[in-house]
């Protein structure tokens, strides 16, 4: 089978293993490719300008060497890895980058990227911390400025119709991803957690229309194949910071569990929220990206302006959707995981642990340093956790 003939899950794996494969082909065909960091750069806007978005990720297998000269070792190793790849030329095919105020280190690393990599186009999308009405208006204003810079860079004017088309095609992708995840409600699941990572990374590396075709192939294949995942006694949900490499999930699945659901940003968190149809598409986009994306970098309160704190109510407002996933995907254990030095997830750990305990859901917290070598000691902990679930 040649590379061109691969389809479905094999094609996703191929792109996962060589992320730039398709992007470089597109570039050779004259299409602009733009890197983006984190979930907050609004992809519909790039697509409406006929630019292919390409998510900036790291590489757990690549030792961080060059980034040490620009970023200290005590910051998020995922961000350091992504930046290291940039310095090593792995993202040289970009026509520009869109960065955002994802978290503090995401923000600072964006500015450092600008200084050391000097891209032809650079835009920093400031993202408010709250979801208040004024914050939504502010974020919409940020999107208007973002569009202005792209109009200047491309020499094109953005039409509302093009933006609405982009919203539709991304919503289709989100619906297809939801359909893919729904396949894992069955026992055994139809797609392994490892395959899910490969598919999600592939989606973030190719244009949205190609991603939709890929998803359709994957869904059909998963339904029809007979060699999918085996039934196992443990159905797990993995929560936490970015997972863009299969190693962690492979390790978990190798000790007798199926990862049937996730709440991470290269997974359901990136795709489940859809954009509401609004007269001005920027209203729907601002709402989806600021309010609906459930990353702990954003501050939510159970009730706007509450004058008394009810801890469980607060946790329910922040993690209630995880409880819903657990019910819908019939999960019997939760692995809370984070890369070391991720503050936004680190502060959440006791809280989500309390919430899961309150709902009698077994859980464990594991921390790693975004390297495959660090996963070996965690295997024993995961095994012990599975024994605990019984």
């Amino acid at each position: 089978m040649t590379a061109e003939e691969k389809k479905g899950i094999a094609r996703a794996k191929e792109i996962y293993q060589d992320r730039a494969l398709r992007a470089k082909e597109l570039k050779a065909e004259g299409k602009q490719v733009m890197g983006y960091f984190c979930l907050y750069p609004v992809l519909e806007v790039l697509t409406a300008f006929d630019i292919a978005p390409f998510r900036i990720l790291g590489d757990m297998k690549e030792p961080i060497t060059k980034a040490d000269a620009c970023l200290p070792t005590v910051v998020c190793p995922f961000v350091r890895s992504a930046f290291d790849l940039g310095l090593k030329g792995r993202y040289d095919f970009f026509d520009g980058v869109v960065m955002c105020h994802s978290c503090d280190i995401g923000e600072k690393a964006s500015h450092i990227w600008r200084i050391y990599l000097d891209p032809s186009y650079y835009h920093f999308l400031d993202t408010p911390h709250t979801v208040h009405k004024a914050a939504q208006e502010q974020f919409k204003g940020q999107l208007e400025d973002f569009i202005k810079t792209l109009e200047s860079f491309t020499g094109k004017e953005l039409s509302t119709d093009k933006l609405k088309e982009a919203v539709e095609i991304y919503n289709r992708q989100r619906a297809l991803v939801r359909e893919l995840y729904d396949l894992n409600k069955s026992d055994p699941p139809l797609v392994s957690g490892t395959e899910i990572i490969e598919i999600m990374v592939a989606l973030m590396s190719i244009p949205v229309d190609e991603g939709n075709d890929l998803l359709k192939q994957v869904i059909t294949e998963a339904k029809e194949r007979s060699d999918g995942p085996q039934k196992k006694p443990y159905r797990l949900l993995v929560w936490g910071s970015v997972i863009d490499n299969t190693a962690l999930i492979e390790m978990i699945e190798s000790v007798g569990a199926n990862v049937v659901m996730d709440d991470t940003c290269v997974g359901s968190r990136a795709y489940f929220p859809v954009v509401e149809t609004t007269d001005d598409p920027l209203d729907g986009l601002a709402y989806r990206y600021l309010v609906e994306l459930k990353c702990p970098r954003t501050f939510w309160e159970a009730e706007y302006g509450e004058t008394k704190k009810d801890y469980i109510k607060d946790l329910d407002s922040r993690f209630g959707y995880v409880k819903d996933y657990i019910k819908e995907w019939d999960v019997n254990g939760v692995i809370l995981q984070s890369v070391r030095y991720c503050d936004i997830h680190g502060y959440e750990v006791p809280g989500i642990g309390d919430y899961l305990n309150h709902n009698s859901l077994p859980n464990i917290y594991i921390e790693h340093d975004y390297s495959e070598g660090a996963l070996a000691p965690l295997r024993t902990r995961v095994q012990a956790f599975l024994e605990l679930i019984g």
Partner: protein, 447 residues
């Protein structure tokens, strides 16, 4: 007292006016505890760079700053037990040392039902509000949210936009950012009125907003005088006195008077050509917060002729601007805070430097304060204070031939600072500074 001890004590010529100013700050902690005991509502607040402080003060709410209290616990050697408690509660050990100190404290306070007896300076009284700030770091939001485990106080977040350097200069961005802050602050006032059952005293707010602007102006002007040779004020005095500006918990008018006295003393030293270090050999930048538990290192370095003439951007007053045409106090407050955040951006863009806060000011100050070197103290548990320091080190050297050394440590955790190793590195830095001084002269730079 031995001769050696006498000598060490004299290495830094501390400002006399620093002592009453500091005493007033210290009294503030005790006043907070007493006020709360007397039934006054108390807020635990993140440092918010004067965005929310005047509003809280105008509503007669006592403000306690757990970040500042973290430094107090570290200085009293009381932090370790609170850090250990935070770890035991399941919070990752790499988190902000101040946050871990506070979380451990809150957990202990909940367990005891009262302020822990080992808490220094009267402890932090139970709050009726937890006030987060959107400024700079993630801990400023996540930490207080996490305190919901131990405290039933509501949490509010004041917003602060963070535009990029180039984006900040786009038409309308400044206006939209300030308008956003104003809207959020008005919502905050409504919330506080509901929470406390009191009405905002707008005249009082107007007065306090002006007082804080005046404090910042005099504090800025005072620090500007440190550009002269020899520098009349050492960083030790800056760190000791910054609290009255950064944590305006006491009476602003009293703080203003004390800063005025300090200004006068520094001015006199400038006129008399008196330096903070007797033989100023190296004019130094200090990067990030100092090791509170090992401040004597400054004395030892002063003996070698090191005079620290400027320090971290985040704790400096904003560049002065004209606020007189802004009649609305809320807008004036938002404008000052935004000015602090973005005040260096325009200059940074001209220099094609894209980290307009934290890193760029060092680059500007190295020239304007004529610095020979920098001592950067990255804080292992504070990413925000750390992530720009390698960049700054690189830019200072490549742009101005100003070398910097990095001595890792922490704001609270005593184990993370290696005093002896820092002194060894200091000797190496001196050789580098001597070399690069010659290179600067060869390049025709002015210092």
């Amino acid at each position: 007292m031995s001769d050696e001890k006498k000598k060490k004590k004299k290495a830094i010529n501390r400002l006399k006016t620093m002592y009453p100013l500091r005493a007033n700050i210290d009294k503030g902690y005790e006043r907070s505890v007493e006020a709360t005991k007397a039934g006054k509502p108390t807020a635990w607040s993140m440092v918010n760079w004067w965005e929310a402080d005047p509003i809280l003060k105008a509503m007669d709410i006592e403000i306690v700053y757990p970040e500042n209290y973290g430094a107090v616990c570290a200085a009293f050697g009381k932090a370790q037990a609170f850090l250990d408690r935070s770890d035991a509660e399941g919070f990752p050990t790499h988190m902000c040392g101040y946050a871990r100190n506070c979380i451990g404290y809150a957990a202990k306070m909940k367990e005891l039902g009262e302020i822990p007896s080992e808490a220094p300076m009267g402890g932090m009284p139970k709050p009726m509000l937890l006030l987060c700030s959107g400024a700079l770091c993630d801990a400023r939001i996540k930490w207080f949210q996490a305190l919901g485990r131990y405290l039933d106080a509501p949490v509010w977040t004041v917003e602060m936009p963070h535009p990029g350097v180039e984006e900040s200069q786009m038409p309308g961005v400044r206006e939209k950012a300030i308008d956003f802050m104003v809207k959020e602050l008005r919502e905050f006032v409504v919330f506080l009125e509901r929470l406390t059952g009191r009405k905002m005293d707008w005249n009082k707010l107007d007065e306090i907003a002006n007082d804080l602007i005046a404090i910042n102006k005099i504090w800025y002007d005072l620090n500007e005088m440190r550009k002269v040779r020899p520098c009349p004020m050492h960083s030790r005095d800056f760190w000791t006195c910054m609290n009255a500006s950064l944590f305006p918990a006491g009476d602003p008018k009293e703080a203003l008077r004390l800063y005025q006295d300090m200004y006068d003393e520094v001015k006199q030293r400038v006129d008399d050509k008196i330096g903070a270090v007797a033989n100023e050999k190296y004019r130094m930048i200090f990067g990030e917060l100092p090791p509170w538990h090992a401040l004597k290192i400054f004395d030892e370095l002063a003996e070698r002729g090191w005079n620290f003439v400027i320090e971290s951007w985040a704790y400096q007053a904003p560049k002065p601007m004209d606020y007189s045409k802004i009649s609305d106090p809320i807008e004036r407050i938002a404008t000052q805070t935004y000015q602090w955040l973005t005040g260096y951006f325009e200059d940074a863009l001209k220099e094609k430097e894209y980290m307009g806060y934290f890193a760029y000011p060092y680059i500007e100050w190295a020239r304007t304060f004529q610095c020979d070197g920098a001592l950067f103290h990255p804080l292992i548990t504070c990413r925000t204070a750390t992530n720009h320091l390698i960049l700054a080190q690189d830019r200072l050297l490549s742009k101005w031939n100003v070398p910097a050394m990095i001595a890792e440590g922490d704001i609270v955790d005593l184990n993370l600072f290696d005093y002896a190793d820092t002194m060894r590195k200091a000797e190496v830095l001196e050789e580098m500074m001597d070399h690069h001084k010659k290179v600067r002269q060869e390049r025709g730079l002015e210092w």
